[in-house]
Symmetry: C2
Subunit: 700 residues, 2 copies
C-alpha cells in the first residue's frame, strides 16, 4: 500500500518536471526579452515595439491555444476544484487536454511578464496529474479516490513556491469545507517531496547553492521589531482588508461588465483575441521603462519585484546619495527626480487595476502572485513612511533599532493575499518563501485583521468567481446563526416530488422526462416490493426504443403502406401503456435519506461532507419530499446573510399554514420504498430526441 | 456575533493569565531550588537531601491535591479531549474542579523538575476554559458549541510555547478526525492572541527584549545545510520513528504493569502516594549533579536542556580546550574526563525510561516536552558524530561549510515528537520555537519518515492511552483499504434488535430493560402510526412507578392485611400487562438511519463526523438492524490491521450463508416506523432498583 502511494508520488514528481523546466524556459524567455530591450537602447520606437509586441505575441498565442485545445484551462482553476471537491464532478476540467492547454498556456502567460500568477494554474495542473494518476491506479485497485485531489492541490501550491507547509494549509483553506485529518498527512508527504524536487532542481541548475527559500530575506533576528511598531502592522492589516475586498469587487465588476450583453461585449465575444490584445497593449505601454514605466519600476519582472521589495535597505535613506553596493535590481525603484513614495504609490495604484483586469483575460492565470506583489508594495510604502517618521529608529533599552521597511513589505504581502483569498495560511507561505519566521506574531495579527475586514465586506476571490460562473457550490454556514438549528428539512424540502414506481408505464416515464430535467428520479414501490438495481437510463432508453420499433421497424424503411398511420399510432399508444420493465435495470439501492425533523445544520453538514447533490426525505419509509443542493444553498444563504430569527419564524408559520394549499396532499405518496434512477441530462435529451426522431417518420 | 467571539477570547486570554503567572512562579521556585543547591555546596549529604526532598514534596503534594480535588486532572488530558471531540461527552473532565486541580497540580509538577511536560495539561486547561465559557455564553445565546473545544485545544498548545500556527495544526492533528475549515480560522484567531499575550507578558517581565521565539536559535542562514547531509537527516528521521514507537510501547507497558492485579499493585493502589514518591526518589537520586548526574547533565532544568542542545557550538571541538565565552549552561554537557558522546548517550538512555515512567505518575503531566528533549539529545548526538566524521565540514563550490550539530538537534526533536504523537505539525512547532525556518525541508522529510515508521509499529501515545483507558473512541480508517468499500452495513449490523412498540406492555418494557443495558431503544409502530416524541426514561420510570404503586401504596406502609399477597400480585400482573402510555412521553423524532447497502467507509465517515453512538438500519422503513460504535470500531480495526481482502470475502460468504441460521428471520420485524428511546444506563438501573425495592416488600 505504502509502495503504491510512493509510486504515485514518484510519478507525480515526474509530472512536476515539465513545470520546473517551464520555469527555466520562460526564465530564458525573459532573458531574451531583456537582451532585445538592451540591444535596442537608444532607439526608443524600436524598443517600444519590442517591449509591446513580445508580451502581445505570448498572450495572444496562449489565449488562442487555450481556446482551441481546452477552454477549461482558462483562469485560475481553484474555483472549479473547490466545486469538484465539494462533490460536483466537472469532468472536463480534469482531462489531459486541459493539462496540455494549461501547461503551455501558463508558460506563455508567465513569460509575457503580464501581472498574472501561477498558483491557481499550478493547483489545477497538479490536480489533473492526481486525477489522471488516480484513474490510472484504479485499473489496478478498482477504487477511484477523490481524496487524491486534495493532495493534488497541496502539491500544486507546494511546488509553485517550494512551500510544503503553506501549500497544504492554503489548499485546505481554499478548497475544503470539511477536511479529513488523515488526508493532511498525505498532503504533507506529497507536498514535501514536490517542494523538495523543485528546490533540488534549482540546486542542480546552479540557481542556488543549496536548498533555501525562494525569496530569502535577511532581516536582523535578534530584535526583529519593537512592540511600538505593532500599531503600524495592525494598520497594514486593516488597510489590506479593505484593499483586498476592493480588489475582489473590482475583479468581479470587470468580469460582470464583460458578460453584460451589449454590442461591445458581443463583438468581443465574437473576436476573442481582441480583449486580451487590448489589455496587454495598454499594460505594456504603461509599463514601458523609458516612458511612464520609469515612474512605476516598470522594468521589473514579478520575481524581481518581490526580491527588491523584500530587500534590507531603507530606500528613503539611500535615494539621492550614491547607490550602495549590493542594491541590485532595487535601483529601479529609485528615480533621480521623483520621490520613492510617489513611485511606490504609482506602482501600487497602476498594478492594482492592471492585476484586477489582467486576471480576467482568457488565459491560464492566477491572482495570487500579483496580489502578493501589490501587498508587498503597500507594506513597503507603509514601511518607508515609518522609516521617515522615525528616521533614527526606535529606542529600546538605550539602543537604537532602525525600522526595516522590508519586514513591512513581507507583512503587507501576507495580509493582502490573505484578505483576497480569505485564508490565514498566506502567513505560512510567507515564512517559507522568505525563510524567516521572526515576524510571525505581527504577521499573524495583520493577516487575521485583514481577514476580518475582508470577510465582512466581500466573498473571497475564489467564491466570487464561483458566484459569477454560477458553479454548483454550497456556501458555508455562518457561525452562531440560531436559525440553522430551528429550521428543519421539512421546512425547506420540495414536497412535490416526481417519482416513478414499478408499475409506471412507458407513457408516464416519457411525460416525466419531458416535463423535467432531473438527473435522477426516485423509484417507489406501491406494494412494498423491494427493488435493488442501479437504474441506468441507457438501458431504459434501449428498452423503450426497441419496444417502439419492434412493430413498425420491419417494414417502415421500405414501405409504410401495409399499415395505416392510425394503426401504427394505435400500436404505439398500446405499447406506451405497458408498464416499464424496471427489473432488468440496475438501480442505486442506497440513496441518501433524511427524516423530516433533521435540522438545517445537520443537513448542511451532511451535504458538505458527503458531497450530496440531493437527499430524499422520508417519513416511516414514505417519500414525502426531496432536498436538493439548491434548497440547502438558498436557505443557507439566507441564514448567512443575517436573516433575522423573528422574520424567519414568521415566514415559517406562513409556510406551514399555507402548505396544505400550496402543495398536493403528502399522503397521496403513500409508498413503501423508493430508490433513485440515475438519469443524466444528456441521456434524457438523447432519449427524447430518439423518440422524436421516430415520430416524424411515422407522422406525415 | 464577532463581538461575542471577541469577548470570549478576551475572557479566555484572562483565563491564560494564571498560567503565565504560573510559569513565572515556578520559575521563581526553580531559582530558589538552585539557590539552596548553591548555598549547600560542599556539604554533599545536605545537598542531596535538598535535591531529593524538593521534587518529592512537590510531586507528592501535586498527586495528593489531584487525588482529593479531581482525579480527572491526572495525566495529559489530550486522550480524553480526543474522545470528547469524537462525540462522547465525558462531562466530569470539563469542570471547574478539574481546572483548579490541573492548574495547581501542573504548576507543582513542573516546579519539581521531573521530566514531565505541560502541553497536554495546557490543552486540557484551555479546553475547560472554553467549555466553561461556552456554558456561560449559552445563557445568552442558548446554543452550546462543541466547536469551541477545538479552539480551546489550539489555544492550549499555542500559549504553551507561544506557537500559534503549530498550536492550531497540532491540536487539529491530535484531536480531530474531520475538521471543519471554518473552525480553523477561529483557532488561528484565538491561538494568535493567546500566544501574543503570552509573549507580551514575557516582555513586560523583562524576560525578553521584544517578541521573539521561545528557544531562539542562531544558525547561519545563507547555507543552512548541504544536500550531502540529507542522508544523516533521513537516518535521524527513521531512528526517531523506531525510538518513538518504543517510547509508546514502554509507556504502555508501565501503565499495564501498574494495572495488572497482583499483590504489589493492590498495595500501590491502596497507598497512592508510594508510586510517585518512589519514582521521584529514583529519578532525583540518579540526576543528582555531584553523583551520577554529572555524567548526564543532571543539573539542567528542561528548558535549559533545550536551550543548550540547540546552541551554535560544536561540543566535540570545544571539549578539552578552554571553554569559549557565551557557552552558558551548555557547559554542563562537557565533563573533563568523559566524552561528550557518552554523556549524550547516557542522558538519552536514562531520560528515555525516566520520561516513560514519570509520565505515568498520577499527576497532571504531558509527554511532549520530555520527548522533545529526548529527540533533541538524539539529534545532537548524531550531529556531534557527523561533526567528528567531517571535522572540517563539507566542501561546496570551494568553500568549507562546517556542520551545525544544533540543527540536527532541532530536527531530532521534531522527528521524535512527531513519531510519538503521530503528527507532522511538530515541525511547525519547532520552527516557531526556534524562530528559524531554514531547515524546513530536511525537517519535514525527517518528520515524515519518523511518522511512517512509527505509524507502522505502534499507535500514537494518545491513542495508546485511549486504548489502555478503554475510552469510547473510533479508530481511523487506514487509507486505501479496499474492504471499507466492499463491506456494507448489512454485513456488520446486529440483526437481533431489541425494540418496543406503541403496543408494548409494561411487562415487555421491564423485561427488555432487565435483559439489556442499552442506552436507547428503538420505538417501532406495528400499524404504521407515527410517533413523534422524545422518549425520556425519567418520565417512563415515573409512569411505571405510579402505576405500580397506585393500588397497594395507600395502605402498604400501614398494613398489608386488607389485601392478600396473592391479590396484590394479581393486580400487579394485570397492571403489567397494560400497554405503556408512550403518547405522553417525548421521543427523539429523527434517529440516524442507514440503509443496508451503505458501505463501511460511508458509515465510518458518518460516525466520525456526526459523533454517532449508534445508527439504525432500515429497509423500506422496516427496522432490520442496528450498528453501534462498537461494531464500526471492530470492523474498522480489522480493516486497519491489514485484514486481507480474500480472507474477508471468504468470511463474508460464510457470514451470508449462515445468517439465516444465526439470526432470527429478519421479516419478523415488519414494522413501519421506529424511533429511539433515550434511556441512560443510570436511569435504567435506578428504575430497576425501584422496582426491586417494591417487590421484597410485597413478597414475604
Amino acid at each position: 500500500e505504502a509502495t503504491r502511494l510512493l509510486t504515485e508520488r514518484q510519478i507525480k514528481k515526474h509530472g512536476n518536471h515539465p513545470r520546473s523546466h517551464g520555469r527555466t524556459r520562460h526564465g530564458h524567455g525573459r532573458r531574451t526579452y531583456k537582451w532585445i530591450h538592451g540591444e535596442l537602447k537608444g532607439n526608443i520606437p524600436l524598443q517600444f515595439l519590442a517591449w509591446v509586441s513580445y508580451p502581445l505575441m505570448f498572450i495572444l498565442f496562449s489565449s488562442l491555444f487555450c481556446h482551441l485545445v481546452a477552454p477549461q484551462a482558462i483562469g485560475s482553476g481553484i474555483p472549479e476544484l473547490k466545486t469538484i471537491l465539494r462533490g460536483v464532478v466537472l469532468k472536463e476540467y480534469l482531462t489531459l487536454k486541459a493539462f496540455v492547454a494549461k501547461v503551455l498556456g501558463l508558460t506563455l502567460a508567465l513569460g509575457s511578464g503580464m501581472p498574472v500568477g501561477k498558483e491557481g494554474p499550478f493547483v489545477h495542473i497538479a490536480s489533473i496529474c492526481a486525477a489522471v494518476l488516480s484513474r490510472f491506479m484504479s485499473f489496478f485497485s478498482g477504487v477511484y479516490q477523490v481524496n487524491i485531489l486534495t493532495v493534488g492541490c497541496a502539491v500544486g501550491v507546494g511546488c509553485c513556491f517550494g512551500t510544503p507547509l503553506g501549500g497544504v494549509l492554503f489548499s485546505i483553506e481554499v478548497t475544503s469545507t470539511y477536511f479529513a485529518v488523515r488526508n493532511y498527512w498525505r498532503g504533507y508527504f506529497a507536498a514535501t517531496f514536490s517542494a523538495f524536487i523543485f528546490r533540488v532542481f534549482s540546486v542542480f541548475n546552479k540557481d542556488a547553492v543549496t536548498i533555501t527559500a525562494l525569496f530569502r530575506t535577511n532581516f536582523r533576528m535578534d530584535f526583529p521589531f519593537d512592540l511600538q511598531e505593532l500599531p503600524a502592522f495592525a494598520i497594514i492589516g486593516i488597510s489590506c482588508g479593505f484593499l483586498g475586498a476592493f480588489f475582489v469587487y473590482l475583479n468581479r465588476q470587470v468580469v460582470l461588465f464583460m458578460r453584460r450583453p451589449n454590442a461591445m461585449t458581443r463583438f468581443l465575444t465574437r473576436h476573442r483575441l481582441i480583449f486580451p490584445a487590448v489589455v496587454t497593449l495598454v499594460i505594456a505601454t504603461l509599463t514601458f521603462p523609458p516612458g511612464f514605466g520609469q515612474f512605476m519600476a516598470g522594468e521589473l519582472m514579478p520575481r524581481e519585484c518581490i526580491n527588491s521589495l523584500f530587500d534590507n535597505f531603507t530606500w528613503t535613506k539611500i535615494s539621492g546619495s550614491p547607490l550602495p553596493v549590493g542594491l541590485g535590481r532595487s535601483a529601479a525603484w529609485l528615480h533621480p527626480d521623483v520621490s520613492v513614495f510617489i513611485i511606490l504609490l504609482l506602482f501600487f495604484v497602476m498594478k492594482f487595476w492592471m492585476s484586477a483586469v489582467a486576471t480576467t483575460m482568457p488565459i491560464p492565470s492566477g491572482a495570487f502572485m500579483p496580489v502578493f506583489i501589490l501587498g508587498a508594495a503597500f507594506g513597503r510604502l507603509v514601511g518607508e513612511i515609518m522609516a521617515t517618521l522615525f528616521p533614527h529608529g526606535i529606542v529600546f533599552d538605550g539602543i537604537l533599532y532602525r525600522i526595516i521597511p522590508g519586514g513591512y513589505a513581507v507583512i503587507g504581502a501576507a495580509a493582502l493575499t490573505g484578505a483576497v483569498t480569505h485564508t490565514v495560511s498566506t502567513a505560512v507561505i510567507c515564512f517559507e518563501l522568505t525563510g524567516q519566521i521572526s515576524h510571525i506574531l505581527p504577521m499573524m495579527v495583520a493577516v487575521i485583521l485583514a481577514n476580518m475586514v475582508a470577510q465582512g465586506l466581500q466573498p473571497s476571490l475564489y467564491d466570487s468567481i464561483i458566484q459569477v460562473k454560477k458553479l454548483p457550490y454550497l456556501p458555508e454556514l455562518g457561525f452562531g446563526h440560531m436559525s440553522q438549528y430551528n429550521i428543519f428539512v421539512e421546512d425547506i424540502m420540495v414536497r412535490k416530488v416526481k417519482f416513478i414506481s414499478s408499475q409506471s408505464t412507458y407513457r408516464e416515464v416519457k411525460l416525466l422526462l419531458d416535463s423535467s430535467s432531473l438527473k435522477s428520479i426516485p423509484l417507489v414501490d406501491s406494494r412494498g416490493k423491494r427493488l435493488n438495481a442501479d437504474f441506468n437510463l441507457n438501458s431504459c432508453h434501449k428498452l423503450n426504443q426497441s419496444r417502439l420499433r419492434d412493430f413498425p421497424r420491419h417494414e417502415s424503411d421500405a414501405d409504410l403502406a401495409p399499415y395505416s398511420l392510425l394503426q401504427i399510432t394505435a400500436w404505439e399508444e398500446k405499447e406506451m401503456d405497458k408498464p416499464m420493465e424496471i427489473d432488468e435495470i440496475r438501480v442505486d439501492p442506497s440513496p441518501f435519506q433524511l427524516v423530516e425533523r433533521t435540522s438545517l445544520h445537520k443537513t448542511h453538514t451532511l451535504f458538505s461532507l458527503l458531497g450530496l447533490s440531493h437527499a430524499y426525505v422520508t417519513s416511516i419509509g414514505k417519500l414525502v419530499g426531496v432536498v436538493a443542493l439548491k434548497e440547502v444553498r438558498n436557505f443557507t444563504a439566507e441564514c448567512v446573510s443575517g436573516f433575522s430569527l423573528v422574520e424567519f419564524l414568521n415566514l415559517k408559520d406562513i409556510f406551514n399554514s399555507s402548505e396544505a394549499v400550496m402543495f398536493p396532499p403528502v399522503s397521496l405518496l403513500s409508498f413503501g420504498c423508493f430508490c433513485l434512477i440515475l438519469v443524466s441530462n444528456k441521456q434524457t435529451n438523447r432519449f427524447l430526441q430518439s423518440l422524436d426522431e421516430d415520430y416524424p417518420r411515422l407522422n406525415p
